[in-house]
Subunit: 321 residues, 2 copies
């Protein structure tokens, strides 16, 4: 491994704990600006060891409050925390679903906590790749745990599987019916279920339902997702929630499942990046490259159809170089 | 052009007005099943002539009611209508934002009206390409006008530009503030503004604001989006709304803007399809092709980073064959 002296200045600054350098590098990664690649490349070898914990669930289940309490708990355990809030702006609107997002209280005053929100900027798959890169930058900057909050619009974010090492699905008691319709989806995603607002009526029933659901099938490697009840006002169950996540992380190491999962996540990340690069390059070439302009001319003239044109252009990647 | 006798049987059935063949072909296009390509190819040369009218706007502005009334109006004018409702299921959830969607009343009883909803099935860009293909299939089946309803989650669907020949942005009076924040976006999208629920307080103000907004800038080719006031209970302004759309369609033909727009839309459609194909092919190859497995091995081992791997894989398409 190359020593810090061989690294680009910005990568060195991140390793040395410079928060502004970290923030800048994450912005560059998010916008896919030229500087991003060099920093990401330089730091990549130093990453992949910390838990990346996804927290997902419908709007209004209290994910942000829960994360604030988890952060406090992790700080009690002397662990530093990076937080990424993924803004699920629709690729169809380019806008934010959440509008003004709640900031995480502690990040303003505690150097052991770093908060960052990410937006998709109109390109769907791209947000997962950028989020993973942001998490790695935070890891390189020395954060011990990365929390990633994602909102499914009204539901659960399935893409969290492509980002997190452990995923917590947060529900509230009265979402019982939704749970039924989400069954299959939830199973694929949840490493830990969290029934928040456990003081509300129906909480016991919701937990029982979820436990039953979990009992119905086993996940890869034999993990069975625990169901934890939490409240945020007043706080309860937070320690149990973290312990459940921690148990899953230990399971990943013991069984070798961590590497299996990481391989899948990296494959998805690479594919996302290629899709983005190919899309950008092709848009350019269809406008400026004479051969491709000619192809587009023929599609416009209706002498060949868009599928045939696309097949021809996709072939080099589909079949290999 | 090849005569109907040379076409695949399913394409011939669509041309002959077989509704079940049409529905099946649209499903195949939506799922990108093998049969889709042959039908799309066979019918492509016969398409590209009818108006594809996008109707977009936030949830709750009354788009579906408006479309029901527009359909009635078009039927009075003796024009047949295909309707496509694009379900903006988030790529992060895979689920529907709308849940149970209102069906269009008339499609059940009037053979001159055909309704179809489309979902994205988790792949973002793909829905626009599939929707355009569905619109072409409807055109081939003989429908004179295609209406496409799309919902931006809480906002306006910018992707409608990649689908429709004319786009109607529907707003309601009390959305005045949102209009302010959407200014730039609205301009790019709207060929016609519709202030629905024009009986509500503030409607005149909303119309004036929009007219002012339209007055601030001119669109490509000099089109200035008219602002039409409508109500659905009781119906009013529907004739004016259709006339405004029709005027835009005539403008497209007179100025040559139709071909400019169609070229851009087809370019986007081709790029979307290539992205999809490349993504599917690469995911496969990263699992099964020894060379790419080796590349992924090195990424997993942290000896090269995902960006470098992606750059290498994207190169054949980015630089040409």
């Amino acid at each position: 491994m190359t020593g810090p002296a061989r690294l680009p200045a910005s990568a060195r600054a991140i390793l040395e704990g410079d928060r502004r350098a970290l923030a800048r590098a994450i912005s560059e990664a998010e916008d896919d600006r030229p500087g991003a690649a060099a920093v990401a490349r330089a730091l990549y070898a130093r990453t992949g060891k910390v838990p990346i914990v996804g927290i997902t669930g419908p709007l209004g289940v209290g994910k942000s409050s829960l994360i604030n309490l988890l952060v406090n708990r992790l700080r009690e355990l002397d662990r530093t925390v990076g937080i990424i809030a993924v803004d699920p702006s629709s690729p169809y609107t380019g806008g934010s679903v959440l509008g003004d997002r709640i900031r995480f209280e502690r990040s303003a005053t505690d150097a052991g906590v770093f908060f960052r929100s990410m937006a998709s900027r109109g390109e769907a798959g791209g947000v997962a790749a950028a989020t993973r890169e942001a998490a790695r930058l935070m890891e390189a900057a020395g954060f011990d745990v990365i929390l990633v909050e994602t909102v499914g619009s009204g539901q659960v974010d399935v893409a969290i599987r492509n980002i997190a090492t452990s995923s917590v699905v947060v529900l509230v008691p009265h979402l019982g019916d939704e749970v039924q319709t989400l069954k299959a989806g939830l199973f694929e995603i949840a490493d830990v279920f969290c029934v928040n607002k456990a003081d509300l009526p129906g909480a016991d029933l919701a937990r029982r339902d979820l436990r039953e659901l979990v009992g119905l099938g086993a996940r890869a490697g034999g993990w069975s997702a625990p169901v934890v009840a939490t409240s945020t006002q007043p706080p309860s169950g937070i320690e149990e929630l973290w312990n459940a996540v921690d148990a899953h992380e230990q399971f990943l190491d013991k069984t070798g499942q961590r590497e299996v999962d990481e391989r899948r996540r990296l494959s998805v990340e690479i594919v996302e990046r290629v899709r983005g690069e190919v899309g950008r390059a092709l848009s350019q070439r269809l406008e400026h490259d004479p051969e491709l302009k000619g192809l587009l001319d023929r599609v416009v003239a209706r002498s060949i159809d868009p599928r045939t044109a696309a097949d021809r252009l996709a072939r080099p990647v589909a079949r290999g170089r």
